[in-house]
Amino acid sequence: MNLAAESPSSSCSSGSTDDFAAFLENEIEAQIEEEEIEEEHIEEEDDDEIEIEIAEHSNKRRKVMDDESTDEESPLNTVDLANGQISNGGNVVCAHPIIIRNLCSHCGEFVEEAGSSVAFNYIHKDLRLGASEIEKLRKEDLKHLLKDKKLILVLDLDHTLINSSRMIDIIPDEQYLIKQVEEGKETDDPNQTLFQLGRYHMLTKLRPFVRTFLKEAKNMFEMYIYTMGERAYAMEIAKLLDPGDVYFSSKVICQSDCTTRNQKGLDVVLGADNLVIILDDTEHVWHKHKENLILMERYHYFASSVRQFSSGIKSLSEMKKDERESDGILATILSVLKRAHEMFFDPKIGIDLSSRDVRQILKLIRQDILEGCNIVFSRVFPSDVQANEQPIWKLAEQLGATCLGDVDDSVTHVVAVVPNTQKAEWARDNNKFLVTPRWIEAANYLWQRQKEEDFAVPKKVDK
């Protein structure tokens, strides 16, 4: 609506205000009809013919007015706002880079849901970004991060940084925790780790060392939370972990932001893939980004949490103890992250910063762990399957070990489950290490070669 073009005399005589008012009436009518028609189109009513007539009518009106005013409009307005098409002058059709509440922020036009845009509801409700805009933002982000010497860290919540349990799942042995939480509410301990999420009747326990972890990680990483929980739950936990809103402001991604069901993806993270390290306890949700993932050992504080994964083991709360702060999982992972960060920003490496890849660095660090170990597997998997496709084989190779099919002099470790197999006896005879598969898994979780004695295969007790 170009008032300046349409009614040049609107500022002066009173005779023209009637026309102005009438014009305004028409304008409002046309606009309402157009908006109503758009709404009706979405609702898919049956009165198509009548609608088309009305649409043509208002389009005709609009076209007449636009023809009058195109010459005087500025370059920005040559996009025909009503029809979203090219006007004369051959300007490009708007690519709708940023769409908020179904309105393109560039041309002001109503945009339907489909298209190449991705929803970013965690930044702002009803925000969608077009593919080209996402690329542009990613590149800008890359520049800023490399300038500040930061990488990107994507953190999972449940079983990685915290452990939650519903109140109704608390077993009798854990009742003392409820008392603890009540007392905690009275005092105001800054180091409190057990919280009650009032709205959800849940108890949440922060993993030991998490606060220090976040504080130190902040210097090296820009951090995101990515959880399969609901937004409200995620925001509550973010408030507990980040009371000052320093680490995660508008960077909390939850289940509803995932573009693929049951899969987490880096497409909703506005950062370049080669800078991202992911900390998560579940591997299968990161199908597309396995190389960025650091698998964490699960944090089972509550009994209900342990039961979900396996029975028989007691949870930390039942045993009335907790992971040690000084050498717990988070502390170990923090040192791995520090090392990766150091290696990435090492000025001595020749390659240009923007073409470095943190995935390569993780691979290199991993391959150091079991460097020099030659491993043979015994009855760990059935002999009729493809041995080098087995997950434990691949894991060992990722960690830098060489896996062999049969025993020979170069073998250093035999991995077995029971002590009386041929290969196990060979190991004992030749003074080689005989360990359980847990030894390899522990090396994966703790990023360090573990003492073989701690994982020795137990000798079967004779009858």
Binding site: L76, L81, P97, I98, I100, C104, S105, G108, F110, I123
Partner: protein
Amino acid sequence: MFFHIVLERKIQLHPRYFGPHLRDKLVAKLMKEVEGTCSGRHGFVVAITGVEDIGKGLIREGTGFVTFPVKYQCVVFRPFKGEILEAVVTMVNKMGFFAEAGPVQIFVSNHLIPDDMEYQAGDMPNYTTSDGSVKIQKDCEVRLKIMGTRVDATEIFCIGTIKDDFLGVISDPSAAS
């Protein structure tokens, strides 16, 4: 833009209010129900200026409530495409900034911010010109032009631009004055 128009609404009244102050109770209920709401057609009702006419009440079957058709004058606010407004910046992020002009929220994307203004992240994220002379941050006043509107049930949302002549920052909260 503001308009002063006459609207009509049917107000339901509980029999407990029937008495000498029926009209006052009716007007009070009207104000409570209507002021601050938004309709797609008219925009936000800012204030009721007067009651023109109250029709005959009709008793509803079954409930005993009485429905009065009330004609009232009110000031409404409705933003239009192409309109120029002053607004106060409420949030700045790398996509652009949000501003509020009364009850209506306007988003100005970074594409429609002049090219010489760059986004600066930090404690108080802002858009600044290369020489630092003009800064857009929270609580700043800006003059912007509406590019498009979207009318929901309860609110109106707009897209704006400051890329044209005479648009942009009017006053800075940090400027001493």
